[in-house]
């Protein structure tokens, strides 16, 4: 078998060295009646060619985003990723290395993490960032728990503009930990009065900008209201490119900034693996979960990097750890960092501008169709479109016409009375032809 280098004679020699007759002697501790005698009930091993054939056939049964006009976001964004990124993350030393616990032979990983942390802090306008979490949604949940620890309270207030699945993750964690959570109703037009929901028991307010419905929000007054009650503001984002166009969490006085980094360097991958971004103020660093790479020197005084402040983590603190998290999203963080290193602020700002311009163009086109309404006054690269027909039917019909037109809100928020709303995203990957195809298909269907 191509991945197993030992041959029969070598196995024999090893058994002899060990001093046993056969391999079963080494499994003797398994209770006799619990041993599997035959092979597992699955096919035998396949050649590389056969595996490729089987997997390729399965892959053929999904529609790849790049093969059709594609306008879906809602927490994951189709980006053009420079060829350099995927090439570099496949280098053996990045792909097949482990967590950098032996820093002398892991300076590659550690320096990348240090650069990544710096980039994330700059992007979010915060002072310190960690070496990544699993994804934006779990980062959001962890931020909530961190706020509980910092304020010694356990009540979270969640905006009706937070991605519903992020809110579900927070709610699950809160229920399990016995914490309180108040979820405001879905807030289509960023008009909720969230400040009124904050009281002396609140540890944090969690607000997304741009929000799930595409509205950029001014979180500064919410920060003030939270701080007045001794609570913290957690600002959430789902497209890192947005931060080059709209005000950053740091600018709006957030205490913790969390979000999804998939939109830079990482493919859609049907939902994972993604990369959670997590940043905060320097004074909160000891309560921040996740790995941290720090700068130091080696015995010869050369600048070096090492995982630090590890006593926050599970392998030391065990039940008193800031989190149970062990892995970060290393390779995805690397991809994010490489993409952002190529872009720089100049390129990122231009990329954001193209995203916004494309969305504005699309919104103009679609709202020109009779009975179609774009809800948002302001948006970055996503907006809500309303039509007279149920959005779920619309997206199916569009798919049938070869257009992925967006997310029917009812899929994630059933029973919220928003069945006629669809969240439409636009990135730099959309062309004029794509927009024309969408408008045509939509007009067609509405006739």
């Amino acid at each position: 078998m191509r991945y197993l280098p030992l041959d029969a004679s070598e196995r024999e020699a090893m058994l002899t060295r060990i001093g046993v007759q056969d391999i079963e002697a080494l499994f003797a501790d398994i209770p006799a009646d619990k041993r599997i005698e035959d092979l597992l009930d699955m096919p035998l091993g396949k050649s590389e060619m056969a595996v490729e054939r089987a997997m390729t056939a399965i892959a053929g049964r999904s529609v790849a985003a790049g093969s059709v006009p594609f306008f879906l976001g809602a927490g994951a964004y189709r980006r053009h990723i420079p060829a350099t990124v995927d090439h570099l993350i496949q280098r053996s030393e990045f792909l097949t290395s482990y967590t950098p616990y032996q820093p002398e032979i892991a300076q590659g990983t550690l320096q990348v993490l240090f650069e990544f942390q710096t980039q994330v802090a700059a992007l979010t306008g915060m002072e310190v960032a960690n070496a990544s979490m699993y994804d934006g949604s779990t980062a959001c949940g962890e931020a909530m728990l961190m706020a509980h620890r910092l304020t010694r309270r356990n009540g979270a207030v969640i905006s009706g503009g937070l991605h519903p699945q992020y809110a579900d993750v927070c709610a699950t964690l809160a229920h399990m930990a016995g914490d309180r959570i108040a979820r405001l109703a879905p807030d289509l037009k960023a008009s909720e009065g969230i400040a009124a929901a904050i009281d002396a028991e609140t540890s944090c307010v969690i607000v997304q900008s741009p929000d799930f419905f595409g509205n950029p929000r001014d979180l500064t007054p919410i920060a003030e209201a939270a701080h007045a009650h001794g609570a913290l503001l957690i600002a959430v984002f789902t497209d890192p490119v947005a931060l080059a166009a709209v005000r950053s969490p740091g600018e709006m006085s957030a205490d913790i900034a969390v979000g999804e980094g998939q939109g830079l360097g990482n493919a859609l991958n049907f939902g994972g693996p993604y990369v959670g971004l997590f940043a905060t103020r320097a004074k909160n660093v000891r309560q921040m979960p996740g790995r941290l790479a720090g700068e130091t020197v080696d015995a010869e005084g050369r600048r070096s990097f090492v995982l630090t402040l590890s006593t926050r983590e599970q392998h030391i603190r065990r039940e008193k750890a800031t989190s149970n998290i062990c892995t970060n999203s290393g390779l995805c963080a690397l991809a994010f960092s490489i993409h952002l290193s190529l872009l720089g602020a100049v390129g990122l700002e231009r990329l954001a501008k193209v995203n916004h311009a494309n969305a504005v163009e699309l919104a103009d086109r679609l709202s020109a169709i009779p009975s179609v309404e774009v809800i948002n006054t302001h948006f970055f690269n996503e907006f809500v479109m309303r039509t007279p027909r149920p959005a779920a039917e619309l997206t199916e019909a569009l798919a049938g016409r070869g257009v992925i037109g967006g997310l029917p809100v009812s899929r994630l928020l059933p029973g919220a009375g928003l069945d006629d709303c669809i969240i439409v995203a636009s990135t730099e990957t959309n062309t004029d032809d794509d927009r024309a195809a969408y408008a045509r298909a939509l007009a067609d269907w509405l006739r």
Partner: protein
């Protein structure tokens, strides 16, 4: 008070005189930060300026300047290639980290994961346009169920620790459904357990009661019975355990736990030892996470991403989180909401680590029933071969007995040498090896946990063994210099970790104005 620390600041070594102008040593190169080489006014990506348009950002436009460097493609490639060369990797050599299962990462997996029908599919596309993706989830789920003999699997957890959280949440939900949520608040955890176990229990409001391992390194039914009480919600057991031993009394333990009305969570980090040899479901397990990045070869990527699907018994299956895949008629659909269900909720947005599912399935299809069993046997064979070849020179905490896929030594054999496990590990680096896991599990002093995996050739194992024997001989002959100054040949010498913790510098800041 816990006093298990160790030195974290090297004696300052005489700085090696720099023989070269650049500070490089041939192919061993120094590399600056992107903030030092990139230009803050440049970009390495060509993006056309859009035609003039009416902005819809209103008052929400970013005000503060964003300052990040951009690198041209040649600069970027050079930067990251040079950085990568400072890393050890499985592709370069054996990575004998106990409990990490650093097996070979097949390249076919990478090719399959990049097929557009897998990589370029959005999680929220209409389900009719994502059937292939859902088929992958279904196929991997079925394979995991066959291997474990369990009844259901939650595919969404993003990593092993996340899977532990998922399994324990399901247990908590089941207990609450029985009306015992207030009374059962304690989780039994062996003192040899990985730190994620107690951390997970604490996250959901449980307190931890420790169970000692016996003199033979395993947990006895008696010890478990002694700790069981009406306040116990669950036991968390790793099998094979963190000492590399199969928990012989596991069936009796499972029975005792179930009789007491509690649940059995199994940490599946060491599943690689028993695939095709026994099934956790047959041993009485209620929930077990599987680290796809360990047993199923998905790459470690310098620390992640992982994936931690959780297999569950029929008792826990109703409480599994959303989403899950269901076959209805000829098509697959996604159940994304908990309404009308006993599901405990949601672990993360979207559906799980699809990219890792493709890789794991590719691995499983490649090995098949025969290959999977052979892999487990080779993993156990190799670990015992290492054990048999080293047990005359190093000390084993639980006597001379077979291990499973990893072998545990302690530091008693170093007692009169003035050297520590850490010194030994650093000397391995100079020999071109990544050290084994050190100082884990905590119950053994100066632990050294070696897991070769099934991917090593006999030649590779033999050289590794001979090297360790040579090092052990040198240690006992008190050739301290070789150890205490190590590593001398790596890109960096020992680091000042004290300074990193006392004066944390966690991002680059410009020291001079732009």
């Amino acid at each position: 008070m816990n006093v298990q620390g160790r030195p974290t600041r090297p004696e300052t070594a005489a700085a090696q005189p720099r023989e070269t102008f650049t500070g490089n040593r041939g192919l061993d190169m120094e590399e600056a930060l992107i903030f030092e080489i990139g230009r803050f006014d440049a970009t390495g990506v060509d993006i056309d300026e859009p035609a003039p348009f009416q902005s819809k950002l209103g008052p929400h436009a970013r005000q503060s300047a964003l300052r990040l460097p951009g690198l041209a493609e040649p600069e970027a490639i050079r930067h990251y290639v040079r950085l990568s060369r400072n890393n050890y990797s499985i592709d370069a050599g054996i990575y004998p980290l106990g409990s990490c299962t650093m097996k070979h990462n097949p390249r076919l997996n990478e090719k399959m994961a990049r097929l557009p029908g897998f990589a370029d599919v959005h999680p929220l596309q209409p389900v009719s346009t994502a059937q292939g993706a859902l088929e992958i989830v279904e196929a991997l789920s079925n394979a995991l169920l066959i291997m474990t003999g369990m009844d259901a699997v939650a595919m969404s957890p993003k990593a092993g620790a996340h899977g532990e959280l998922c399994g324990m949440m399901a247990i908590k939900a089941a207990i609450e459904a029985r009306g015992e949520g207030e009374t059962r608040r304690v989780v039994l955890v062996p003192d040899s357990a990985h730190g994620t176990n107690p951390a997970t229990a604490a996250l959901i409001g449980y307190s931890v009661r420790s169970i000692p391992a016996g003199e033979d390194g395993i947990v006895s039914v008696e010890a478990v019975r002694a700790a069981l009480a009406p306040d116990v919600a669950a036991i968390m057991l790793t099998n094979p355990n963190t000492c590399g031993l199969f928990e012989r009394e596991i069936v009796g333990i499972a029975d005792a736990v179930h009789e007491a009305g509690a649940y059995f969570y199994c940490d599946g980090a060491n599943f690689n030892a028993i695939v095709g040899k026994t099934r956790p479901g047959d041993l009485g397990v209620d929930a077990m996470h599987i680290n796809l990045h360990k047993t199923f070869s998905t790459p470690h990527g310098g620390g992640g991403p992982g994936a931690g699907p959780v297999v569950m018994s029929s008792r826990l299956a109703p409480y599994a989180p959303v989403p899950f895949v269901k076959r209805e008629g000829g098509a697959l659909r996604l159940v994304e909401h908990t309404q009308g269900r006993e599901s405990f909720g949601r672990m993360c947005a979207f559906h799980g680590q699809m990219g890792m599912f493709v890789r794991a399935l590719s691995f499983i299809l490649s090995h098949g029933a025969d290959g999977l069993r052979q892999a487990s046997e080779d993993a156990v064979l190799s670990a015992n071969y290492v054990r048999a070849s080293l047990n005359e020179v190093m000390s084993a905490p639980f006597g001379d007995r077979p291990c499973m896929h990893e072998v545990l030594f302690d530091d008693r054999w170093l007692k009169d040498t003035g050297l520590t496990t850490l010194d030994f590990a650093k000397a391995m680096i100079d020999e071109g090896y990544h050290p084994m896991t050190v100082y884990f599990p905590l119950i053994v002093h100066g632990a050294m946990l070696i897991e070769p995996t099934e991917s090593e050739s006999k030649a590779s194992l033999d050289l590794f063994i001979m090297t360790l024997r040579d090092l052990a001989t040198a240690a006992k002959a008190e050739k301290r210099e070789r150890f205490q100054s190590a590593p001398v040949h790596a890109p960096r010498r020992r680091l000042d970790e004290t300074r990193a913790a006392r004066q944390p510098v966690l991002s680059w800041t410009r020291s001079q104005p732009a």
